[in-house]
Structure formats: C-alpha cells, structure tokens
Symmetry: C2
Subunit: 487 residues, 2 copies
C-alpha cells in the first residue's frame, strides 16, 4: 500500500517575505521587459491572442495577465494510478517520491557502469513498484538504449503499466509521443476518467535561459489539451544558464516557470501544473555541474517559498549527487539536497532514489540505499505526539537510577513501532560486521537489490487492457519510422 | 583564522510551545518527586544546604529552587584559546565545531581498525588545528591506549597545547585529573585570566537514568570552583536508559541536565555551563545503539528548543553514524544528525568530525570528509543576500535565450567566491574519475589525510610556557602511581 507523506510539520521559511517580494518583482520585469523565447509558432499565436506581446519569437508578459492566468492553475489535484489505492494527491501537504529520471547509464556493484537497456528499465520499475517509500513509478527511469529511439516511448509506458501499478509519467520527446502517451493512458483508465483526473504527469523542462524549445512545447500543448498534468521546470546550472548569484538565478527561474504555466492555462484553464525547480550550480573552475552544494540547498528553500506564493504544488530536490558510485560522498551530497526538500514541504520529489553521477547514471544499489533513507523521512514526518502515554512519567519513576528500561511494561507496549529501523543500514558490532565480510554499504546493498528483484511479483493487470495496449504499441511501431540514437 | 559560524538564519521550531510546556512540566515532576541520584557525599551536602530535599543519595528539587539557580548560569561566555584570535564565544548565535571525543579505536584506509595511541591523538589534534572548519581542539580525540591510564590526561592536554593553538577540553576522569587540567591551563593562560574567562570546557556526562557518578561529580566540583566551563550531558540511548517514547525521554533528559546545572550554580554562581544532549535510540531487536535515526533527529530539535527556554548554550548533534567505515551509510547517517544540529541553531557541536562506529572509532578519512561538509555548512550559514547586484537584472537581460552566463561581467565580478567548492568531493567527468583510479571517497580522502599531516606546522608556543608545562607533567608523573588499562 503506497502512502505518500502528509507533511504536518512546520515548513522551514528561510527568506524574509520582503526579500521574496523583491525576487518576484525582478521576475515580473524579466517577463515584461526581457521576454521569454518560444520556438513554436502555434504557441506564439496562442500567447499573442491572449494578450501577450510577441516580437519575433520573444514573448513579453504584462504582470496583470500573468496574475490572471496563474490563478486558474489548481493548487492540488489527484493523479490516477491503475491501482486506485495508489492514486496520488499532488499538492497541499502531500509529499510524493518518484525515482531517478533520464540517465543513459546504469551502475551496479558487480558490473560497474554501462549503457542502460530495457531490461534495466524494467528492473527499476520493479524496484520502485516494490518499495513502500516510492509512491510513483516515474518516467524515463533509465534510457532503454537498446530500443529504437523513435518508438522506445511506447515500450517505456508499457513497462510502467505492466511491472507496476503506481502512477507514471509521460513522454515529452515530441507532440506525437505525448499523444501516444495519452492514447495509452486512455486504454488503461478510460477516455472519460483521464479528463476528470490526470493519468499522466510529464516533465516539461525549460531550456534555460529563457527558452522553450519545439519538442517541449509540442508535448506541453498535447498534455494541456488532454488535461494531463505537467511539471514546468527550468533546468538551471547557475553560473552557466543563469547568473552566479542566487537571487538573480531564482528570479529568472520564476519568470521561466511562470511563462510556461501561463501558456498551459491559456491552452486549457485548470490544467494541473506543478511549479518545478531543478537548480544547482556549476563548478566555476571545471565547468562541471556540482550537486549537493550549499547554494543548491539555499535555492531550494527559496524556490519552494515562491511556489507557495502562487499556491501551486512544488517539485524540487531529490537524492542528487556528483559521485560516480554510492560512496560516502554520495551519501553526504544526497542528504544535503534531500533534507531541505523535505523541510521545504516539497510536493513532488523526482530523483528521490537511484541518482548518481549528476544524473548520468542510475545506480541499482544507490536506489535501495536511497529508499532506506526515504523510509526514515516517512518516520520523521510523523513528528512527535506528546500525551500522557508518550510522556511515560510512571515508567520513568519505575526504573531505578542507573537502571534500564528494557523490561518495563511501557517498553513492551511500544517496542514494535517505537523506532524506525533501516534494513539496508548496519548497526551490528564491529566483530559481527567483520565476520559478515566487512562489507561497505555499496556491497551490502547489492544483496538487497538481488533479493528484491528475485521476490518481484507481477501486479495484476486486466487481460483485455494488456492486449489492447500491446495491439496499440504494435500498430504504432508499424507506422513510426525506426530511428536509433545514431541516426 | 578560525571563525565559528554566526548563525543568522531562522532556527527551526519543530514543536509547538504548549507541547514544550508539557514536557518541561514532566521534568519538574521528575526533579521534585522521583529525584536524581548523586554518588558523592559532598555534593549531596551542597544540595541539602541549598534547599534540596535529600533522601539517601536521592535529591528532590523544588521547582522554585531550580528556577532560581538556573537563572544564574550565563547565556553566553568566551572560552580562551592560547591564540587569542581563536577565542570562542559559546552561546547566542554562535556555532562551534569540535572533533570526535572518546573513541578507543582509530580507523584508516590503509591500516584498518586498531587501538589508538598517542601518535593518533597527536594526529587528530593536528588535523583539527589545520582545518578552517573545526574551531575547537576537543578533548579525548582518541584514547592514547599506549600510555598509563593514570597519567595520560597530562599527555593529552600537553598535546592539545603543543600541536594546536585552539581552545581545548579538560579531563573528567577524576577530581584530581580535573585539578591537573586547571593547573596546566593556569600555566598557559595565567591564573587570573582563567578566572575571568574559562580556559577549558569539560564534558560532564550523566549516567542516565538519573545518576551522577563519583568521577563526574569530582570533576564537576573542581571545574565549578575554578569557574571553568562544563557541558552537562545526559547520555541517553532511548529504550535502554529512558522510555522508548521521545517525549518521556526528553523530559528525563531535561530533569537530569537541570539537576547538574543547578549543582554547578550552587557551587559557584555564574559558572559557564552548556546544556547538553546526547540522545539516540537503541535498535530494539539487537540492543545495539543506532545513529542517524529519525528519532534522534526529532529529539535534537526538541532538546534545542528546551535549552533555548533556559537561555543556555546548547550542545547536540555531530557527524554521528553506526557505520564502521566512511561509506554511503556513514554519509547519509552523519548528515541526518548534522543537518538538524545546524537548523536547530546548536551552539557547540562535539563529534563534528571523525566519528565512526557509534563512537568506538575515530576515522582519519572520515575526519577530512566531515570537515569538507562542515565547510559547506559555513557557506550555507551565510544565507542569501538579496540586493540589486545579486538580483543581476541587467546580466539576465544581456544573455540571449539559450545562451550562457560564463562570459558576463557579472560572472567575472563574482566567480571567485560565487560557489563553495569542497576539495574532498569529486565532480569530475566519469572518464577523468576512472583515469584517476576510480577511487571512492574513502580512498581519495586518504590522500588528503597524508597531505595534511605532511603540511602540518607547529604553532608558535612561548618557550617558557612549554618548559613550565613539561616540568609540571614530569613532576605529576613522579607522584601519580602508574596504572594501565589492565589494572
């Protein structure tokens, strides 16, 4: 049973309200005076006809217009899963964890790093299906490099539907692929149901600075018209795609996100949309993207505060790291990004498990280790109940000075669920750990990966839906010209 | 130049004020009705003569009395360092990081785990001296197992004074050893100076539940009479030394801490004292202490909130983990404890670097990796300045859509200090990392440890002070009967 976190704890308000105001003012000026580029004629026409000033491919947004259209985006919505008990509320105090997205490589303890395949894709979908701490099946969990580029989106959706009964993400590689996604969702959920509540949520990245490209706009139009949810995310490595200073970077991010959100609402008012942030910085000496930086942590809090201003669901964070393998660096860095994501009350956390190497690789062992930590955050989010029972006065009175509480009635009453235990973490005595082979977390997690995949059971799927999907995919594969990554 | 963090960011207030009230009420009842045990006749006499009800070895504290004596403990104070530029303000918005304390073992990449020696002790003092992110030389950074037990406190203080010019901690193994510590501090700083401001800060642990033992009370009396600072810390593994529920555990911790703080103020009103918390839970299946648990994280926030109620400096947190080596688990766990310690505005963070294996081992590589992360927290604590320059409007206007900011004037003006870089972390491309030997963080950190120790330079020390200290130690060693750990 999937249960996303209902986050009732105080949310960390990092920046004073007046400073948020100033950042938003600069966003408004960027939107009105500097403009956002849209590389799609139809989108420019939609913007123009709704009151945006268009010059060439640049769109200039009057502040009142932005305010008007922002107001029509819902502050929360429900994404359907094919197992209704896994339907997900997105927004409000809900916190949804989804797997890593997009890596062309996989990494595991035994075989190291290699190009990912459909088999890897299926495996990560299975691992996400099995983890109680991953609520969403995600999207391109890894690139299935062994399949033709032009049709692999069909196989990916098929994999999500077959190997998981959790909600999933749609293809954004073109308008046509988005349409295939919607068609397949209609087969699974029914055409009427997916108009009431979105059955897919899809990741629309901004090509920062200030550009929406053809492919993303094609997908955006398709999904908005089908009333499927989108996550509008400026993809920003500060110092390269934005200024090196965070307030300017966040102002730019906000302008970019708003431009896309406004467009979705012009196409179809009420389209469910998530305010996304993917913001870290480059290493200015090497030019490499850096992850788990203090700057990305600061930016995350402020981005979440701004999203709350617009009363929109917020996407940010993840177990991000630059490390190539799940070593100590990966652990530190992942937590440096993930802790603020939780404390900021983030609603949708993509890359919540499996991310390695700046997103270039999905790690099998990293995935299960991250899931262990996500379990801890579930416990953390339960907070602390203060009542007569938990205050345990009589139990304190009962144990003599220097004594112990192991045998008290109170301990017996609570010991089953008193403390959260993380199976993938080791707290054995040194001698036992040594006798077990002195394995580090990476090596130990390898065992958990194998066990999990061995124990996988196919979730039930209506035979007729399965067949209809297979037919659809077969038909589409006949029509779509095959291209490979080398074409 | 050591510069502890001045934490100007909002502090995370986790629990509602009324719930804190309820926990404190239970503490008052524990103090008044259940009592705290003091295994020292003189202390019992001091308590009795100041209005505490004593029955046998149990002391019962009336609430008004507690309130009265708590009020005389200063809310902040300055600890002297022999290099005055390293003097440390403790309390207020200051955040001081000190090394791991107490491990009988060390662990390094090449030699693995072994009993620690004076050479290891000296090495950790040197590493702490050299790190800009460690502000304090600490105390028993590792046990020098190769020295006689009865005199090793003398060698440890000597090591702190010779290999570092940062502030250090005193011996708490007996009243006599505490007196030696004070005598040596008087040699270094002058007898008058150490009465004005404490020259040592020492760790008085409560033998929870509800017991202060002879050794700790001996040290406490000596330090309070010499007006040296003490950190009163209940040592609690919830489920063993306290109830399995956190509110009861925290109520007990508070009662224990208050009892000791009140005693210091009865002995010498105005004695600088830090409210300490060392609180995690056991694994109820195995009985092992667990570190980096969500429960310990929740408890840390509430403990800090309670310390703030009393307007006392707070000690808590650290880079704690159960892991035996600096692997992914160590990274995750350390951050799970350290992030809340920062967000809670903790004033004194012992074990901020080097901790492994539940505190049984000090790791050389763990130390330098932790220091890297401490550097990130220094950057994090600077927060975000929002002004015209950082909002960078004209720089955003200058870069075309899809372009980059690498060459802008704004980037040039800021690139030196725009982003914090952590030397021990790797963000190189996979191919370069592979060409460099595909080393994990543990292996890479080994190189940094060696480099650091090679580059160590002895801080200047007045020759006469050095001689006087050596004489003192020699004289004391003649007098003190030698005992070893096996005696």
């Amino acid at each position: 049973m999937v249960s996303p976190i209902s986050y009732k704890l105080p949310v960390y308000e990092f920046l004073e309200s007046e400073k948020i105001d100033r950042i938003i003012e600069v966003s408004s000026r960027i939107l009105a005076e500097i403009g956002i580029e849209f590389l799609d004629e139809e989108c420019l026409e939609i913007l123009r006809s709704n009151g945006v000033t268009v010059e060439g491919k640049l769109a200039f947004f009057p502040p009142e217009l932005v305010e008007h259209y922002m107001a029509s985006a819902p502050s929360e919505f429900t994404q359907l899963a094919r197992n209704p008990s896994h339907n997900l509320k997105i927004g409000g105090d809900q916190m949804v964890f989804a797997p890593v997205y997009g890596p062309p490589f996989v990494c595991d303890f035994e075989r190291g790093r290699r190009h990912s395949t459909l088999e890897d894709f299926d495996n990560f979908v299975k691992l996400a299906h099995m983890s109680p701490y991953i609520h969403h099946s995600g999207g391109t969990v890894v690139e299935p490099n062994d399949l033709p580029v032009s049709t692999r989106h069909l196989d990916m959706i098929l994999s999500h539907v077959i190997y998981s009964d959790k909600a999933f993400m749609g293809s954004v590689t073109s308008a046509e692929n988005a349409a295939d996604t919607v068609a397949m969702a209609e087969i699974v959920f029914g055409a009427e149901a997916v108009r009431q509540n979105p059955a897919v949520i899809s990741l629309i990245n901004v090509n920062s600075p200030r550009r929406y490209d053809e492919r993303m706009l094609g997908a955006l139009k398709t999904y908005a018209r089908a009333r499927q949810a989108v996550i509008i995310t400026p993809f920003i490595l500060a110092g390269a795609m934005s200024p090196v200073t965070l307030p300017g970077t966040i102002a730019q991010q906000n302008a970019e996100a708003l431009a896309g959100i406004v467009l979705t609402q012009m196409i179809s008012p009420g389209t469910p949309v998530v305010y996304g942030s993917f913001l870290t910085n480059i290493n200015l000496r090497s030019g490499s993207p850096a992850f788990g930086t203090p700057e990305s942590q600061l930016a995350l809090y402020v981005s979440a505060q701004i999203a709350r201003r617009y009363k929109l669901p917020f996407r940010g964070g993840g177990m991000l790291c630059a490390s190539k393998i799940p070593d100590a660096q990966a652990g530190y860095e992942s937590m440096i990004v993930m802790s603020p994501a939780i404390m900021a009350g983030t609603n949708f956390i993509l890359h919540a498990a499996g991310w390695l190497e700046g997103g270039l690789a999905a790690g099998y062992e990293k995935f299960v280790l991250d899931c262990g930590v996500l379990g801890m955050f579930h416990r953390w989010s339960e907070g602390m109940e203060v009542n007569e029972d938990t205050l345990a006065y009589s139990s304190i009175a009962e144990v003599e000075p220097g004594g112990h509480h192991l045998g008290t009635e109170h301990t017996f009453a609570h010991f089953r669920d008193a403390f959260h235990e993380t199976e993938v973490f080791d707290d054995k005595a040194f001698e036992m750990w040594e006798a077990d082979g002195a394995l580090d977390a990476y090596a130990r997690a390898n065992g958990y990966v194998k066990e999990s995949l061995d124990e996988f059971e196919l979730p039930e799927l209506d035979e007729s839906i399965h067949e209809e999907l297979m037919d659809f995919v077969a038909r589409r594969k006949e029509i779509i010209p095959k291209t490979t990554a080398d074409d």
